[in-house]
């Protein structure tokens, strides 16, 4: 008994629909490779911290005065961007614009505060191995924040142009996903550079 | 095996002795595996139903055939046993070669430089401490600890007849140890690529009886003798003003440490990190034109007159 199998599906969605589509897979692979990049940066920190004698850590008690509120600000911006995405999902364009706009502003404030934080450091990137790692790791993160801000700005613009609907919104999902990634990575960077010294690492 | 001074299929020291049977074991396993697989493949190939090209393909019908997974199981069992033996043997051998049995009879510091080796022998005080280059003497039959340092780039310290390699890395101190079974000269070589003259970064380990070693050691502690003739005097001036920018000759004011200590230069069998046999012709040739012998070497060509060369020779020959 021979039996020919033929796929003849009914009612398939056409083009990226909801979060379905290749774009979200693409962004997922991008995030996987970027996450790997940051884990190598943090590996370098911990490796050098363990392998080098005391005194390597230039800031045994890094000031949290700016860094902690700034971290909270960035994490909150993730929530705001999510709220904006939800606006698209429910067809409320005004909310989406507020969401992307405010998230963009919060991200910008984060970047400015971080810039100030850099200038307030008593060392610069050529001072020592620790200083190089600090500036390059936070610098890599800053580059991601700037790209994320461009993404949020594009989402804002495209929302103004009324490109999206609950159905056609893959760019929004992918873009906001990326912004979440930028924020979560900061949590790891922040924990590594600002919290682990208090827990005794490198002291 | 003097014809193959760096071969490690024969050994003359404890660590190499422990490693050698394991090397042979893995080598024999490897050869057997290659022979068996080649034989199995050959058996399979002899079953060829046809030869030629695409048209020959269509003459042989496709068949489902035996599922054949038992072959893979057979293969796994076949590989598991030698792997297990090797694994256990490796761990045992590693534990044995990693650290010396008991206290080292002697500890010395060896530093890899581009492209030569510096050895420092420590004594009770500074006056009992001396440095030499490219020829490391050790007493035979006792464990000698070698602390390894990197002065510039990474090198690797290797005396195949006595022990495997350990890298010399700037910023960290690695430890190797040597124990020679019988007296002799054992060739060593840098094995981590380190630049232009990586090829010519050899050294010798001289294992000798305790008495010979002590005699050598007390001789090395002596400063260079004062020049006895005018030629030697002029030669010494040259050494101080030219060579002294990089080299040390103890007993003179030449005291720089960028390059090998020359105090007992003539006691060494080889010069230029093993590149040349130490005889007057080679020595003067090397001094005049090191870039011809070792292009890229950090020692610049010297432009010396015939008179200067013979003065230099007269003096250097006193550095026994």
């Amino acid at each position: 008994m021979v039996d020919i199998v033929l796929a003849a599906p009914r009612d398939l969605p056409v083009g990226p629909t909801g979060r379905k589509g290749l774009g979200s897979w693409g962004v997922a692979t991008l995030i996987a490779t970027e996450a790997a990049l940051f884990s190598y940066l943090l590996f370098s920190y911990f490796y050098d911290g363990v392998a080098t004698p005391k005194g390597w850590l230039l800031e045994p008690s890094p000031s949290l005065k700016l860094a902690l509120p700034n971290t909270i600000l960035l994490l909150l911006s993730s929530g705001v961007a999510w709220w904006g995405e939800h606006g698209i999902l429910t067809g409320r364009r005004g909310r989406a614009l507020w969401g992307f706009g405010i998230a963009f502003l919060m991200g910008t404030v984060f970047a400015i505060v971080q810039w100030y934080e850099w200038h307030a450091k008593p060392f610069h990137f050529g001072s020592s191995n620790y200083a190089s790692l600090y500036f390059v790791t936070t610098g890599f993160h800053m580059a991601h924040v700037l790209i994320g801000l461009l993404v949020l700005a594009a989402l804002f613009l495209w929302t103004v142009l009324d490109y999206f609907s609950p159905r056609r919104r893959l760019s929004v999902t992918a873009g906001v996903f990326y912004w979440h990634f930028v924020d979560v990575v900061w949590l790891f960077v922040f924990t590594t550079y600002y919290i682990t010294p208090y827990l005794g690492f490198g002291r | 095996m003097s014809a193959t001074p760096l071969a490690y299929l024969s050994s003359a020291g404890t660590r190499a002795d422990i490693t050698l049977p394991l090397t042979y074991l893995t080598l024999i396993i490897s050869i057997i595996v290659c022979v068996v697989i080649t034989w199995l493949l050959w058996r399979g190939l002899r079953r060829a139903g046809a030869r030629g090209g695409a048209e020959a393909m269509r003459s042989i019908p496709v068949q489902q055939g035996d599922n054949g997974v038992r072959w893979i199981k057979f293969g796994l069992w076949l590989s598991a046993l030698p792997l297990l033996v090797t694994l256990v043997w490796t761990m045992v051998a590693l534990a044995k070669v990693a650290a010396p049995f008991g206290q080292p009879a002697l500890t010395l510091d060896v530093t890899g430089h581009q492209w030569w080796w510096e050895a420092v022998y420590h004594g009770a005080g500074p006056s009992e401490t001396f440095r030499t280059a490219n020829e490391i003497h050790i007493p035979v039959g006792v464990p000698v600890q070698v602390r390894l340092h990197g002065a510039d780039v990474i090198h690797s310290f290797w005396v195949p007849k006595l022990a495997g390699k350990t890298d010399t890395i700037p910023g960290q101190t690695n430890t190797s140890w040597l124990q020679a079974r019988q007296p002799g000269r054992y060739q060593g070589q840098c094995t981590e690529y380190c630049g232009f003259q990586h090829a010519h970064m050899g050294f010798e380990v001289v294992a000798e009886s305790r008495d010979d070693f002590e005699r050598w050691r007390s001789h090395q502690l002596q400063p260079a003798p004062a020049p006895a003739s005018d030629a030697q005097q002029r030669g010494m001036q040259l050494v101080v003003y030219r060579c002294g920018l990089c080299h040390t000759v103890r007993g003179t004011s030449a005291g720089a440490r960028y390059a090998p200590d020359l105090t007992h230069l003539m006691s060494r069998r080889l010069i230029a990190a093993g590149a040349l046999v130490n005889n007057p012709g080679n020595l003067l040739g090397w001094i005049e034109h090191p870039q011809g012998v070792k292009p890229g070497s950090l020692m610049p060509d010297q432009f010396l007159s015939g008179q200067q060369l013979s003065d230099l020779r007269a003096y250097l020959e006193t550095l026994q």
Partner: protein, 654 residues
């Protein structure tokens, strides 16, 4: 519901009108514009293969030059500086610019055909990854040709690569070039992964995909995770060299060993990434020549994945001599010995396939079957280096040089040449000459073994690697002469391949759709395949769609001549990851210059970074940003934004 959002795809037979319609939709325009804007995976695949082959020839010329220098003791054909740049460039070329791209080329060409799809998941990224590869290759070779080639080996250890010891531009070219090339590899990896997960023909469930796909997929998952390690390391090195940071500088708290960790965390998985797809080729092609299915499909697929997973845990075996504590060494030694097991699975599966089949000796078969022996030789020498005490003797001698060449030539070049003979008819419509092929095989096989088998002994006799010359009286003279002669013979073999390719392009026998009577989907379409690959989307019912009825695998039959037509645009079918059930109709992008513009912009950026010409960096960066913005701008045609109201759609689509 908006009719443009959901559709029931029409199903029909392969028909001339349909083919005509698809042809007009999928074909790239002729001429230069089409050349620079095409996103056709077959064209990109062939570009990859040709470019990689050019690099193979360049690397080969470098190797022959070195073999002339080493043919006898104390030869002075090359200065140390020249030799150092040659051996470093040779390694860089073969490992980064040949071995990986050639496999990407084959996979790019073959994947959609093997998987029953009309294109890769991201056709534009595919073009971008090629253009970046080409640009990075040129960038690196500009360095070499201006006397600024890498001079610290492909592994590029610090501190020798640091500015204090290496003041020229050599290492800057290499560092920036590698970061640049890494972008290409990463993009390619993402594309392969998403394609394998989402663009298979309906019915091609995860247990029916060809082993080549398993190999390339596994390799690219690894690439995605490990390439950032080496890109970061090279970036840090460049910062150390040019901006006074202290990542690797022991004087300022840096660790030279950090370089080695980052490099080998990447480097070892990379070695597997450049052999697993080639092993996949053998696993797919050998059974065709043995006229039976592969023995142990599932175990072979699993062992591919297992090799990679273990492969992440063995990087320290490149660092056994760096003075790490014994406990750590024993772990990595054990893992390195254990990784032999999955390799043994593949070897015995191949042997059993040959033993239990009825082999037909063709040139391709000779290349694939001889690879088994070369693989085993390369494998057992690797097993020897996995034993720490033995490795302390073996490492950095010519034994390891012999090992790496058995791995890379044996498990990459040999199956790749086999793949050329096997798939050339599909790519060009013509068979390669078998008579010349036999000459090709035997010169390569004999030349290779004459060159590299005695080299094991050279190593056991203690000859260190990376030396520009050696003294006589070391016992190495004769062996080195034999190696040099063997390498010349090998080179003649490669030359015969080139001759055969060019001759067969014109004079080869016409192949037809399926000259080898092979079972997989690529052989169900014409040779060369049409731009759209499949006129109707095939439905797959087994691992061997073209052998159904002859094997007793299943009563079900694949449907190759009837299927979804998908002719409203450049459309493909997206399927679910495991079962490959139809899930979504996807609109594929048309030809575009955006990838080329991004690659040019990036090349300008990297050239600017090299020369510290910030204006150049800015111009390049702006070109990249604008091209990406245009690229990502949501398009109605790709359904990335909501279509106009229904009436407007009707008029737009006629």
């Amino acid at each position: 519901m908006n009719p443009a959002n959901v559709r029931t795809p029409s199903v029909g037979p392969v028909a001339e009108a349909l083919e005509h319609r698809l042809h007009s939709l999928w074909e790239s325009p002729p001429g230069l514009a089409g050349f620079f804007s095409t996103v056709d995976h077959k064209k990109i695949g062939i570009r990859y293969i040709v470019t990689a082959f050019v690099f193979l020839v360049l690397g080969g010329i470098e190797a022959l030059t070195m073999r002339l220098q080493l043919a006898g003791p104390d030869r002075t054909l090359l200065t140390p500086n020249q030799y150092d740049q040659l051996f470093s460039t040779h390694g860089m070329t073969m490992i980064f610019l040949y071995a990986s791209p050639i496999l990407s080329g084959f996979s790019n060409y073959l994947w959609p055909l093997l998987l029953g799809s009309r294109d890769m998941a991201f056709p534009r990224l595919n073009a971008l990854s090629y253009w970046i590869y080409l640009a990075a290759g040129i960038f690196l070779y500009v360095g070499f040709l201006t006397g600024n080639g890498p001079n610290d080996g492909w592994f590029n250890y610090v501190p020798y690569a640091a500015r204090d010891y290496n003041p020229g531009l050599n290492e800057d070219f290499y560092s920036l070039g590698m970061v640049f090339l890494g972008v290409s590899v990463t993009i390619g990896a993402a594309n392969f992964i998403v394609t394998a997960m989402r663009l298979r023909a309906p019915g091609m469930s995860i247990n029916r995909i060809p082993i080549l796909v398993w190999g390339t997929l596994t390799a690219n998952v690894a690439n995605l995770i490990v390439v950032p390690a080496v890109s970061l390391a090279f970036f840090m090195l460049w910062m150390d060299r040019q901006f006074g940071t202290h990542f690797f500088d022991a004087g300022n708290g840096g660790q030279p060993l950090l370089w080695q960790h980052l490099f080998w965390i990447f480097g070892h998985p990379w070695v597997y990434a450049i052999v697993l797809p080639a092993m996949g080729m053998a696993s797919d092609a050998l059974p065709v020549f043995c006229r039976r299915p592969l023995v142990g499909y599932s175990v072979v697929a699993l062992s591919t994945v297992a090799t990679m997973i273990l492969g992440f845990g063995v990087w320290v075996h490149h660092m056994f001599a760096t003075g790490l504590p014994s406990l750590g060494l024993s772990f990595f030694s054990g893992a390195s010995i254990a990784i032999t097991v999955p390799s043994a699975v593949a070897v015995f599966a191949w042997l059993a396939t040959i033993r239990l089949g009825r082999p037909v000796t063709t040139t391709a078969f000779l290349f694939f079957s001889s690879m088994i022996v070369l693989f085993v030789i390369g494998g057992v020498s690797g097993f020897m280096t996995a034993s720490v005490p033995v490795d302390w003797q073996l490492t950095d001698t010519y034994f390891v040089v012999a090992h790496i060449h058995y791995v890379l030539i044996g498990i990459n070049v040999f199956p790749v040449v086999g793949a050329v003979y096997f798939w050339f008819p599909k790519m060009t419509g013509r068979l390669m000459d078998e008579r010349l092929g036999r000459w090709n095989f035997w010169t390569m096989f004999i030349g290779f073994n004459v060159a590299f088998l005695p080299m094991h002994l050279t190593g056991l006799l203690g000859m260190p690697r990376r030396v520009y010359t050696y003294a006589d009286g070391m016992g190495w003279d004769t062996l080195n002469l034999i190696t040099s002669i063997g390498s010349l013979v090998l080179a003649v073999g490669v030359l015969l391949l080139v001759v055969n390719v060019f001759r067969s392009l014109k004079h080869g026998a016409v192949a037809g759709d399926n000259p080898w009577d092979a079972p997989t989907l690529e052989w169900s379409v014409s040779s060369p395949p049409p731009p759209y690959n499949f006129a109707v989307i095939p439905t797959v019912a087994s691992r061997h769609p073209l052998w159904e009825g002859r094997l007793e695998e299943t009563q079900a039959r694949s449907s190759l001549s009837r299927g979804m037509e998908l002719k409203s645009g450049k459309e493909v079918i997206g399927t679910t990851s495991l079962d490959a059930a139809p899930d979504i109709i996807l609109e594929m992008p048309g030809d575009t210059f955006a990838p080329l513009c991004v690659a040019i912009g990036m090349a300008l950026t990297f050239a600017g970074l090299l020369l510290k010409s910030w204006a150049c960096v800015w111009v390049g960066g702006v070109i990249v940003a604008l091209s990406l913005l245009a690229w990502l701008w949501p398009r109605r045609k790709l359904r990335e934004r909501e279509p106009e109201p229904a009436g407007a759609v009707e008029s737009a689509h006629g």
